[in-house]
Symmetry: C2
């Protein structure tokens, strides 16, 4: 039983880096034709201060959901979407960490926590490994409340439920996600980031017939310091295959969305070479979108691990390493200045170490560094400025 | 002659890192008793896109002011505050760079630029020197326009000029500042940051009798990785002496303001060990505040250079260097997430290389790093969490 005070205290909790609650709006200005404005619930300073402190656990819990919401093991298919999504991301965390440990030889450290009002997380971090400088894979579950305007926007903002939702006050929501960034040591081995999330509101309790809102979001993207065309093409091809099994329109749309989202606006360049990114997805049956999210999460290993195996032992010079470090600086700029989950999480009292796990172990900023035209460094920069089609739609 | 289109294009231009146009408001919540809310003119995306691109120059201009506004050399004391402030910060840039070059042995590189609608800047950067990893000293002049609400807030927001100012439309403003960050190599040698700025609006052209708004802002603060009590006390003592010559109330007030401003909220710790910080200062004659700002700028060398001379050649271990790099990571977090000048500058199209000059050459993020209680690293962290009185008021 969760008291209303607890529920209020749980409001505005962040869900890992890169997980944010958003609704899509139409914006006409360029260059963000698919820009998805975030309803960040604008927590006031007092609310942010009121967020529950996490309680660290000695070992990971069987479920991060509130009691009674977790999976019915005797009949999983009848369980709630909340439970099935948690089950999916927990399995993805296990599988991906196992694949990474297998290549690296070093084991992840694990930290688990819960919050008194429900929800919690499991962070796994591998630092200073043989292959990876820093790799983290987090799962997290958040119970919070949102203002009625955010609920209205999420459910279409129709005038029908406007006055009613205003009366209803804050709406409880649930969010769950997996989020990961892996930075290898070798400058020829690329960084990968992925994140899959599910969001659901309650029905406003005192509005007869008002619907639940829910949606899926996520993406997987690649950030190399040097381009090997065949590696980037392989990575995009795996994303495309995963998308194509579910909808031929997905890959072109989500590839573009990814190029738009990861723009470091003040540089006019992307953080990396993209992949897929989607949000607010609720245009078809939830079962189909769970299957799609599962497919995407399962595609991380085949998309990424082969590139690491090919590049992890390539010889490199101090100059190659310096360029990697400059690109890591750009990664930091994107994550701290633009990434919605990071900036939201930092401002609302999330578990800082889990949110900032996405930052590289080391980074570098040189004044006015400009790679000479035609060099390998310039080619990378050019591809970040002018996104290419890596898996052309035939 | 500047057309209205040019003036509009120059709107919302940032003035270096750490320079932002602000007005003080009363906030009752802790821990920001003197929190100064910024009227950032909320530039829309379109406006930000419209900002003029800087034009690089082959050599620095005699003045960054619009023609006719620069100093009357035959009678400086009758020149405008704009001209005298530019003269002050240009001289401070020369003096401080000369003192740094004298210790380092390496010369600053200089880049100058102007914008077609007026204003410009001079960046000086010393990278990979003998003593400093990266040191930058910028001066900058901005001509922009602000929305009438910002003007009203700046001039007290009285109801008398409210309707008139609404009619008046955007108000032209002028801002000039010097901004500097210097990161030494030796982990026992501290980083310093300082910034002094002057802001002035025009009178709304179609509002009879409406006043100009103007104010001074600035500060100098120290960020060591290791504490030497006598060094920090010396640094604060010099700030206090500069303040005390002008107003005995300044140091205690501006020391507290500095501790409040440089809080990394998500960590609950300050970036460093403070110094002084003030903004919106217009409570006495402009001449007196120009004299105070000049005193502060002239105090940078005696406050900082002696500490560098003492610490630049101290032997250190790789562990000391790692801790310095972690603290540099915190510096990056503050500057990219919270610093008003940086975040504003990045979002409104300032000269990126000058804005991000404040970032260290290299930085580090370790997952969940916790110094052992009682160690030198812990002592620094403790002083960042619990600010001390380094120059007690007797």
């Amino acid at each position: 039983m969760v008291s209303s005070a607890q529920a209020a205290a749980a409001s505005s909790q962040p869900l890992l880096s890169s997980v944010a609650v958003s609704v899509q709006v139409h914006c006409n200005f360029q260059p963000f034709p698919t820009f998805s404005a975030i309803i960040f619930f604008k927590p006031s300073f007092e609310e942010a201060q009121a967020i529950e402190k996490e309680e660290m656990l000695m070992e990971r819990p069987a479920s991060l959901l509130r009691e009674g919401e977790d999976l019915q093991w005797d009949n999983p298919s009848t369980s709630s979407m909340r439970a099935r999504f948690e089950t999916m991301i927990r399995k993805a965390q296990d599988d991906i960490c196992a694949a990474v440990e297998d290549v690296d030889g070093i084991k992840f450290r694990e930290d688990s926590w819960i919050r008194p009002g429900g929800g919690g997380g499991i962070s796994r971090v591998l630092q200073d490994g043989n292959v990876w400088e820093k790799a983290g894979v987090n799962v997290s579950v958040v119970y919070g409340t949102m203002p009625p305007e955010a609920y209205r926007a999420a459910t279409g903002g129709g005038s029908d439920n406007k006055p009613a939702a205003n009366k209803a006050g804050r709406i409880p929501f649930f969010a769950a996600g997996i989020s990961s960034v892996m930075h290898p040591k070798n400058p020829f081995a690329p960084t990968v980031h992925f994140n899959y999330r599910y969001f659901e509101t309650d029905s406003p309790p005192d509005v007869a017939g008002a619907p639940k809102a829910w949606w899926f979001g996520g993406g997987t993207d690649l950030t190399p310091s040097y381009i090997f065309d065949e590696d980037v093409a392989h990575f995009h091809q795996v994303q495309k295959q995963a998308c194509d099994k579910h909808d031929l329109a997905f890959y072109p749309k989500f590839k573009q969305w990814c190029d738009d989202y990861f723009l470091i606006k003040h540089r006019g360049e992307r953080r990396g070479l993209g992949g897929i990114f989607f949000d607010d997805l609720n245009d078809r049956d939830g079962e189909k979108l769970l299957a799609f999210s599962t497919e995407c999460a399962n595609s991380v290993i085949p998309a990424y691990i082969p590139l690491i195996k090919k590049r992890k032992d390539m010889p490199f010079s101090p100059e190659h390493k310096d360029w990697q470090q400059l690109r890591r600086g750009r990664y930091v700029e994107f994550n701290l200045v633009y990434d919605r989950g990071t900036t939201f999480g930092l401002k609302t009292g999330g578990r800082i170490e889990s949110i900032l796990m996405s930052l590289p172990l080391t980074a570098r900023w040189e004044y006015d560094h400009q790679p000479e035209a035609g060099t390998e460094e310039w080619k990378l920069l050019d591809a970040c400025r002018n996104p290419k089609e890596w898996a052309p739609v035939s």
